[in-house]
């Protein structure tokens, strides 16, 4: 794409370690060669190859501005698909502004909000949903949220919205066909049938819409379930991780009878921790319920932390738990490692592929290793969020609410015994609103909205 060359500060305008000025467009190389000087002053950066990094200085005319690293990415292999240069400078607000000014003096134009992404989109580098995800990335507060927004609309959200839409479409089509071919398609008793569908689909939409919650970004997380035999120290572990006494810790086996839930942040990753009742054969009815729930929770968990009391020999309960965990992502925590061990790290490692970490929840030992382990599993992609359907995007939330309102209108029309052809106006609105989430209806508002939301430089 031909166009002028744009530039902007691509990182946050706040004091940080490093700041990036991004330049994109046909004249990028020309512009950088005007403002860049290498240490010896001999390097001709204009001739530099693509995807190379160069150390040097930025000058505005003859004034040296900053010591920088310059990254050259020639089109089409760049974010925008055009020749792109990124200047890594010192992160102070003043330094970034000065470097940007120098670049603009050399011929670049300040970029509009979202312009880099718009160019990337127009050059076929990203599609609209990716462009939208970029907004969420920018707005994401932690690493977890980032990953979530990148994967937004994959999987189950998409599927369930498509299901609702196809159900609505069926009814729109049915009403329309009946209008055009009353001889062969009857509307007798149709309203009741439609009312049932509308009620059902409304519930689904409600669920989806309710799953949205701004706090949810932090509260939601990797479903992490702590399991283990009674009194293995599960609650102590949770308490330590949470930092407050939520679970009642006693020496009496079976104290934890329900599932406790707590969200914690480990190095930017949020974990939804669930402490469960110990798993063992029990005659105590109440505890039995807890055991069942523990099994159920372990089954749906993204990550299982299996706490083993190293001072007690493994028994049939442990066998049962290991069996449950066979197909799961799990970490074995050998607790009470400060006491004389009966079960050792080696013994367990011989029996399973799961990582084994010796800890002492009471004495707060080994927890850093656990954190590191979780973090490395997460970023290696071994751990991901559960498939639970949830919505994280305000636009999606709004569209869902619109669809819900429209279906409520349909219900009203049915209740008022309006002729069937009136139903389709609101059914269509619901259908279109949902279509905006999955990218199957298009409105210019959406496109404008997406590109105006970007902060400059993305």
């Amino acid at each position: 794409m031909t166009g002028d060359t744009i530039a902007a500060i691509a990182t946050a305008m706040s004091a940080s370690g490093i700041g990036i000025i991004r330049i994109s467009g046909d004249d990028s190389m020309e512009i950088i060669s005007k403002v860049y000087r290498s240490k010896g002053g001999k390097k001709q950066i204009k001739e530099a190859e693509s995807h190379t990094i160069h150390y040097g200085f930025i000058y505005d005319n003859d004034t040296m501005i900053d010591e920088v690293l310059v990254m050259i990415m020639k089109g089409p292999r760049s974010y925008t698909g055009e020749d792109t240069v990124e200047i890594d400078c010192h992160g102070g607000v003043l330094a970034m502004k000065k470097v940007l000014e120098a670049v603009i003096h050399a011929g670049a134009r300040p970029a509009e909000p979202g312009e880099f992404t718009k160019r990337a989109f127009l050059n076929g580098r990203i599609d609209l949903s990716q462009a939208e995800a970029v907004i969420d990335v920018i707005q994401a507060k932690n690493e977890y949220a980032l990953k979530s927004s990148l994967s937004q609309l994959k999987g189950s959200v998409l599927t369930s919205i498509k299901e609702i839409r196809s159900s609505i479409l069926y009814h729109i089509a049915y009403i329309e066909s009946a209008l055009d071919d009353p001889e062969h398609i009857s509307l007798d008793g149709y309203s009741e049938k439609l009312a049932q569908t509308v009620e059902k689909e409304k519930k689904k939409i409600r669920c989806l819409a309710d799953s949205f919650d701004e706090g949810k970004m932090i509260r939601e997380g990797i479903r992490t379930v702590i399991v283990g035999k009674p009194n293995a120290g599960k609650s102590s572990l949770l308490n330590y991780l949470v930092g407050e006494e939520k679970a009642i810790v006693t020496d009496i086996a079976g104290t934890t009878r329900d599932v406790l839930e707590e969200t914690i942040m480990l190095q930017g990753i949020s974990l939804r921790m669930m402490d469960t009742a110990g798993i063992r054969a029990t005659e105590d009815v109440v505890e039995k319920i807890g055991v069942e729930r523990a099994r159920a929770y372990a089954k749906d968990a993204d990550l299982v932390l299996y706490v083993v009391d190293s001072s007690i020999p493994l028994d049939e309960n442990d066998e049962e738990i290991l069996e449950i965990l066979r197909e799961k992502k799990a970490i074995i925590l050998l607790n009470k490692s400060d006491l004389t061990p009966v079960v050792t790290k080696e013994m367990l490692e011989a029996r399973t592929d799961m990582p084994v970490i010796a800890i002492s929840a009471r004495q707060e030992q080994g927890v850093e290793i656990l954190e590191e382990q979780i973090k490395s599993m997460f970023f290696a992609g071994e751990l991901s969020f559960n498939d639970e359907v949830y919505i994280t995007n305000v636009r999606h939330k709004t569209a869902l609410e619109e669809a819900y309102q429209s279906l409520t209108m349909v219900e009203k029309s049915i209740a008022m015994e309006m002729p069937e052809d009136f139903f389709s106006i609101d059914l269509m609105n619901a259908y279109e609103a949902l279509g905006r989430i999955v990218g199957e209806s298009v409105g210019e508002d959406l496109v404008n909205e997406i590109f105006s939301k970007f902060c400059t430089g993305k």
Binding site: D127, M416, M418, P419, I425, G443
Partner: protein, 625 residues
């Protein structure tokens, strides 16, 4: 060699329902117009069903009338029965249908043509188009005469290389044995026009004296007839009407058909053309709705001065002997005498994507087309396109801005947009479901929607236009008044509510609120509305509909607002789609082929996805000068 050379402004080829409207429009706009027909006796002929209007087609007729067309006026003078269909449903799908006296209809239309200034009727077969530098210059006839014209409108209907078929019998003729036009297709093809071959069909006509009506249900017309034309005096259409009759096919009929399917030219492969899915032959229905034990059959008179009866719902191309067995298996038709056999007709038409929404060819300037030639089916669809093609041919010659109605303005807009935008491989029939904004596009408000456009074009008089402005004003004032009249829980009010099964009032309410109750309407509230002004029926009707359904209307207007946003984003004519890198290849191909005028139109092309549309939007936004 024939050296006859004439110069005219507009040449219209064909004098069927499209050609009549096209030539009248062009002549009425002051242009010297000549309408060519293979037979003057076939002007405005109705070779198939004997009615005008019907579901969604009635809307078209009202719109034609609102714009200044002729069809509604002629049917108002020549109908023999009239009915408002779908009255039990919402006002959007009410649709007027009238039985025509066919002969009278075509004679009346012919007289209108004959008496229109600037309009000449010419019996001649046009065989060649004269095209120079991508612009139409005129036409040549079979006899070798040359007619130079500034614009040409093609309305050839089903005549191009027409062939009529039943069983293994086929004739190279147009409908009713009329002469086909066998040369024009070649001239079109030579000029790069892409042609389709479509087919349609018609049922048998049966001698009334051979029908036992006692075995059928009588279908009477409405007690109070509503005219099609907004200019017709409603009192003038309260005439004595004739009846139609309803009977049904049965398992025996279906068995006869199934047993003889192998003798049907449709299934034997003798017919190549594609037929209309929405106007199927009886053999199609038996195959497609195999689980239905019966289908409706309407017996309709062809006119007051003939015994021929049309057998609606049973068009066919089965052999003659099978037709006898099949019709005679229907109750009441046991002794039927067939006057004319049912037949299918195949004909050449164009792929309408070659047209702009103005109905002008994209690649041949000043050449317009309308009607079945564009791949539609039905008299009303034809007339609607003919009117627009005629208007635009005239406007083009006059150098004025052409008329395009969009999907939110008229069924005509939907019809033409569908034809020129959507891939269409069968005769296109107008249907209610095709109009997404149908609550706004009602038959009762066609004048309010389109009179002004007709006036701007020049087909509607100043007087008629002022009438419509007055009507709008009265409607507005009355709505305003009714929304503000408060009624208390007085005795007469409660009694009236009780009378209509409506919940009594516990506190005051406006009349507007009461009108919105499903069981009430504007008319029935008259006794408790002391200061009600005296208003015409059509005004009261608008007041009622606009108040009663205002929530729905508002929501539909919102939808239209969204629609208009994309419609108003114009795509430059010289748009180079290859430059837009993120478009999918299929989209680029389709966009190059259709060359849509707006993003809205682009979004309706099959093969252009919402993602492609987003790309176009952003691209155009970034390249706005």
């Amino acid at each position: 060699m024939n050296k006859l050379v004439e110069y005219i402004d507009v040449a219209v080829i064909g004098a069927g329902h499209a050609g009549c409207e096209a030539s009248l429009a062009a002549a009425r706009l002051g242009l010297e117009t000549m309408v060519f027909t293979v037979s003057v006796d076939s002007i405005a002929m109705m070779p198939c069903n004997p009615n005008i209007g019907g579901s969604s087609k009635g809307h078209l007729v009202k719109e034609i009338d609102a714009l200044g067309g002729e069809m509604g006026k002629v049917i108002d003078k020549t109908f023999i029965q009239s009915k408002m269909l779908n009255k039990s449903k919402g006002p959007a799908v009410h649709s007027l249908r009238a039985q025509a006296d066919k002969k009278n209809y075509s004679n009346t239309m012919r007289q209108v043509l004959e008496n229109t200034p600037h309009l000449t009727i010419k019996q001649a077969e046009v065989t060649e188009l004269i095209i120079e530098d991508g612009t139409i210059k005129g036409v040549k006839t079979y006899s070798g005469a040359t007619y130079y014209a500034k614009a040409v409108v093609l309305c050839t209907g089903t005549y191009l290389k027409a062939r009529c078929i039943y069983g293994d019998v086929s004739n190279y003729t147009g409908p009713n044995g009329l002469q086909a036009a066998n040369y024009l297709t070649d001239s079109l093809k030579a000029n790069g026009v892409e042609m389709f071959r479509f087919k349609t069909g018609t049922p048998a006509r049966i001698d009334k004296r051979s029908i036992d009506f006692s075995k059928m249900e009588e279908q009477k017309g409405d007690e109070r007839v509503v005219p099609f034309s907004f200019s017709t005096d409603p009192e003038s259409v309260q005439i004595d009407q004739v009846s139609c009759w309803l009977t049904y096919t049965n398992e025996k009929t279906h068995e006869i058909i199934r047993e003889n399917l192998d003798r049907s030219p449709l299934y034997s492969g003798m017919i190549e053309g594609t037929g209309p899915r929405y106007c199927p032959s009886i053999e199609d229905k038996v195959v497609r709705f195999a689980d239905k034990s019966r289908h409706q059959v309407f017996i309709e008179p062809e006119g007051l001065n003939t015994n021929e009866m049309y057998v609606g719902g049973m068009s066919s191309s089965l052999p003659e002997d099978v037709q006898y067995d099949m019709y005679r298996s229907v109750p009441g038709l046991e002794h039927a005498k067939i006057v004319r056999n049912a037949y299918a007709i195949e004909y050449d038409c164009i792929n309408p994507r070659q047209l702009m929404p103005t109905l002008e060819f994209k690649n041949i300037k000043n050449l317009f087309s309308g009607g079945q030639f564009n791949g539609s089916s039905g008299y009303e669809e034809a007339a609607a396109q003919g009117l627009i093609a005629g208007i635009n041919a005239a406007l083009k010659v006059k150098g004025e801005e052409l008329l395009v109605l969009d999907r939110s303005e008229a069924y005509i807009g939907v019809l033409i947009d569908d034809l020129v935008t959507k891939e269409n491989h069968e005769p296109y029939r107008m249907m209610t479901s095709r109009a997404e904004y149908r609550l706004l596009l009602r038959q009762d408000n066609a004048d309010l929607r389109l009179r002004e456009k007709g006036y701007r074009v020049g087909l509607i008089s100043k007087e008629q236009y002022q009438d419509i402005l007055k009507k709008e004003q009265l409607i507005k004032e009355e709505i305003e008044r009714v929304e503000h009249v408060n009624v208390g829980a007085s005795r007469p009010v409660q009694e009236l509510l009780e009378q209509y099964g409506s919940t009594p009032l516990t506190s005051g309410s406006t009349l507007g609120e009461l009108i919105r109750r499903p069981e009430l309407n504007y008319e029935v509230l008259a006794p408790i509305d002391k200061n009600r002004p005296e208003l015409r029926y059509d005004i009261r009707e608008q007041v009622n509909i606009n108040i009663k359904y205002d929530g729905y209307i508002t929501r539909q207007l919102k939808q239209v607002e969204q629609f208009k946003k994309l419609e108003s984003k114009k795509i430059p004519e010289d748009m180079d789609y290859d430059q837009v890198k993120s478009l999918r290849i299929e989209a680029v191909q389709k966009l190059k082929l259709y060359r849509p005028v707006s993003i809205g139109q682009a979004s309706r092309i099959a093969g252009v996805s919402p993602a492609d549309v987003s790309v176009l939007l952003v691209y155009l936004e970034s390249h706005r000068a």
